[in-house]
Symmetry: C2
Subunit: 347 residues, 2 copies
C-alpha cells in the first residue's frame, strides 16, 4: 500500500504509529513523506520510506496542483500504484487532491463515466454499516452516473464487505418511484430495468441509519450533505447527552454509571473505525481517509486499501459492470429518445 504519510493532520508521529499498526498486521507499506520525519519507521520490516517533500493543502484547486506538483506526497504515492510498485493508495490528505491524483494516475475502469466516493456509515446500534455513494466525488450527476454508482457500490459490498446480493437503494424524498428530483426519478426507472444488482427502490433520509439497504446510491452533492448531516446530528445529540449529565448531581452520577456503555456507542460512531472513504470506478484502489484520523484511523485506512486488493475489488467491479450492460444500454436508449424528443436532461 502506498501511503501519503505527509497528509496526516496529526503529523508524522500519528502517521508513524498508524503505519506501524498496519505493518504489524502483515501489510507492506510504502510511506511517502519527509524521510527525516519518518525515521522511526526505518527499523520496521515491511515498510519503505519514499521521499516526497511537498504537501498539497486543502484550500487550493486540486486538479491543477496535482498536475504541477510532481514532488507532492499524494502525487508520488498515486504514481507508485500506477507504475506497479504499490497495489493500492491510501491518504489522509486533502480529499480533493487525493481524488484528483488517483484519477490522474490510475485512470477509470472501462465504461465508468465518473468515479464515486463511497463510505461506510457507522450505525449507532452497531448494525452492519451501510455503504453510501457518491459522497462527494461529483457535485452534479446524471441518471446514468447514479446507475453506475449502484453497480460500483454493489460490487464493492460483495467483494470487500463480503455481502451476498446486497440490497441497493436510491436516496429520495419518498418511496414511490415517481417521488424525487428528475435526476432520481430517471435513475430509479433505469435501475428498475437493470440486471445483476438487487435494486429495492427508494429510501428516505430517516432510513439511512435504519439498515434499510446495504448500499445507498445518491449524487455527490446530496450524499455529501447527508453524510455531514449525520455526523453533525450525532455530535449534537452526543453533546446534549453530556450536557444533560452535567445538569444536576443526580444526572451526573447517572452519566458516570452509563459511561462504559456509552463509550461503546462513541466507538461505533467514531469515523476512524471504517478507515474512511474509497474511490470506486478506477483501475486501482484509492482510500480517501479522514485527515484528522488518529493512529488507529490511519491503520484502518491502510487495512481497507489492503483488503480491497486482496479481495480483488477492482476486478470484481469490472465484471459486475460488464454483467450490468443491459441496464446501462436501456438507459442510454431512453436518454437518446429524450434528446430526440427535445427534452433536456439535468446537469
Amino acid at each position: 500500500v502506498a501511503f501519503d504519510a505527509l497528509g496526516a493532520e496529526g503529523g508524522a508521529e500519528v502517521a508513524v504509529e498508524g503505519i506501524g499498526r498496519a505493518v504489524a498486521d502483515g501489510i507492506a507499506v510504502r510511506a511517502f513523506g519527509r524521510p527525516d520525519e519518518l525515521g522511526d519507521l526505518a527499523p520496521l520490516a515491511g515498510v519503505e520510506v519514499v521521499e516526497a517533500p511537498a504537501l498539497i493543502p486543502n484550500d487550493i484547486e486540486p486538479a491543477a496542483a496535482v498536475r504541477s506538483r510532481s514532488d507532492a506526497s499524494i502525487v508520488r504515492a498515486a504514481a507508485d500504484v500506477a507504475e506497479g510498485r504499490s497495489q493500492a493508495l491510501a491518504s489522509p490528505g486533502s480529499t480533493g487532491a487525493t481524488m484528483a491524483a488517483a484519477v490522474f494516475a490510475m485512470k477509470r475502469l472501462r465504461a465508468v463515466q465518473r468515479p464515486a466516493l463511497a463510505v461506510q456509515i457507522p450505525t449507532p446500534l452497531g448494525d452492519l454499516p451501510t455503504l453510501m455513494l457518491d459522497v462527494g466525488a461529483n457535485a452534479d450527476g446524471r441518471p446514468a452516473h447514479l446507475v453506475q454508482f449502484a453497480y460500483l457500490g454493489s460490487a464493492f459490498a460483495e467483494a470487500v464487505l463480503g455481502l451476498t446480493r446486497p440490497r441497493v437503494a436510491l436516496l429520495s424524498v419518498g418511496e414511490e418511484r415517481k417521488k424525487g428530483s428528475q435526476l432520481v426519478v430517471e435513475a430509479h426507472q433505469a435501475l428498475a430495468d437493470s440486471t445483476g444488482i438487487n435494486f429495492i427502490g427508494n429510501v428516505e433520509g430517516q432510513q439511512v441509519l435504519a439498515g434499510a439497504a446495504e448500499v445507498i446510491v445518491t449524487d455527490g452533492f446530496t450524499g455529501n450533505v447527508t453524510l455531514k448531516t449525520i455526523e453533525g446530528t450525532a455530535k449534537a445529540v452526543g453533546d446534549a447527552v453530556r450536557q444533560a449529565a452535567r445538569s444536576s448531581p443526580k444526572a451526573g452520577l447517572g452519566g458516570l454509571l452509563m459511561r462504559g456503555a456509552l463509550g461503546g456507542l462513541r466507538d461505533r460512531l467514531d469515523p476512524d473505525q471504517t478507515g474512511g472513504a474509497i474511490l470506486l470506478g478506477l483501475r486501482g484502489v484509492a482510500v480517501v481517509g479522514h485527515g484528522s484520523a488518529g493512529p488507529e484511523g490511519i491503520a484502518n485506512q491502510i487495512r481497507l486499501a489492503a483488503r480491497a486488493v486482496s479481495e480483488d475489488a477492482v476486478g470484481r467491479t469490472a465484471q459486475l459492470l460488464e454483467r450490468g450492460g443491459a441496464g446501462r444500454s436501456a438507459l442510454r436508449k431512453r436518454e437518446r429518445a429524450a434528446v430526440a424528443a427535445g427534452e433536456s436532461g439535468r446537469g
Copy 2:
C-alpha cells in the same frame, strides 16, 4: 384559523383536545371535519365546526384530488381562507394535499415563482431553532428559486420568529463560493449580489444543527433528505442510548438517574414543539403539520398559524421581496446572458 380536523392521524379525539388548547389561548378556530366526531367542541366559545366529510389520503396524487374533491376537509379549509372567513390554514393531513390545496386556493405572492416549505429544526442543545427551506415543496430547483427562498425565509424569521437581520446561509458541500452543484454555485453568486438580506455564505451539513445561521436555504430535494436524515440520526442515537442503558444493571441505574435530564432533550427534539412546517410565498398563511401530532402538536400548529397572521408574515414577506428586487434582477440578467451564450441551466 381554518383547521383540517379530519387530517389528524390520531383521530378526532386528538384533534378535539388540540383545538381546545389553542382556543384556550384565545385563538378562534373553524374546525373542518365530521360534525358527529367533533361534537365535544360544540360547547367551546371560539370554535365553529364546519362540515367536510371527505379525507384526501397520503397515497393519491394531491393536485388532481384537490381539484376533484370539493367535499374534502383540506379543500374546504383552504377555500375558507381564500374567501376571507378564516385568516390562516393549518392541517395535520397529507403534506402534498395541504400544499396543493393551499396553492390552489390562496395563490402565490407577486414575483414568487415557487412557494417553499419551511421548518424550524429542533436543536438538541436548546439553541434557537434554525429555519430551513425548502424541505419538500419542490423536487427540483433553479438558482432564482433558491434566491427567493432566501427572501421568504428571512422575512418569516423576522416577522414570526422575531429575529433581527437573521443570518441566511446556503447549504452546500464546502464553504467556498465555488463549492457545490451548479445550482448552488449560481445561487451563491446571486445571493452575494442581493440586497435586503444578511447572506453569510455556504454552510455544510454538519453545521445545520450547530447554529451557524438562522435561515438555511436549499432545494426541496436536498432539504427533505437533510431534514429526514436529522430525524433518523437523532432517533438512532437516542435508541442507542436507551440500548446502552439496558446493557448492564449499572448502566440501567445510570439511565434511571439521567432520565429527567434526558427527558428535556427528548422534549426539545419532539417535532410537536414547533407545530410543523409553513408554506411560504403564498397570499395567505398555511401551516403543514405532522400527521402524527399529539394534542400539543395540533395546538402548536394552530398557534403557529395564528402567530403568522398576527405578525403579518405575508405582508412583511411581500415587502422584503420588493426590497430584494435588485438581487433578483441581477440573477435574471445573468440567466439571460447564460442563455444567450448557449449554456444550459439545471432543472
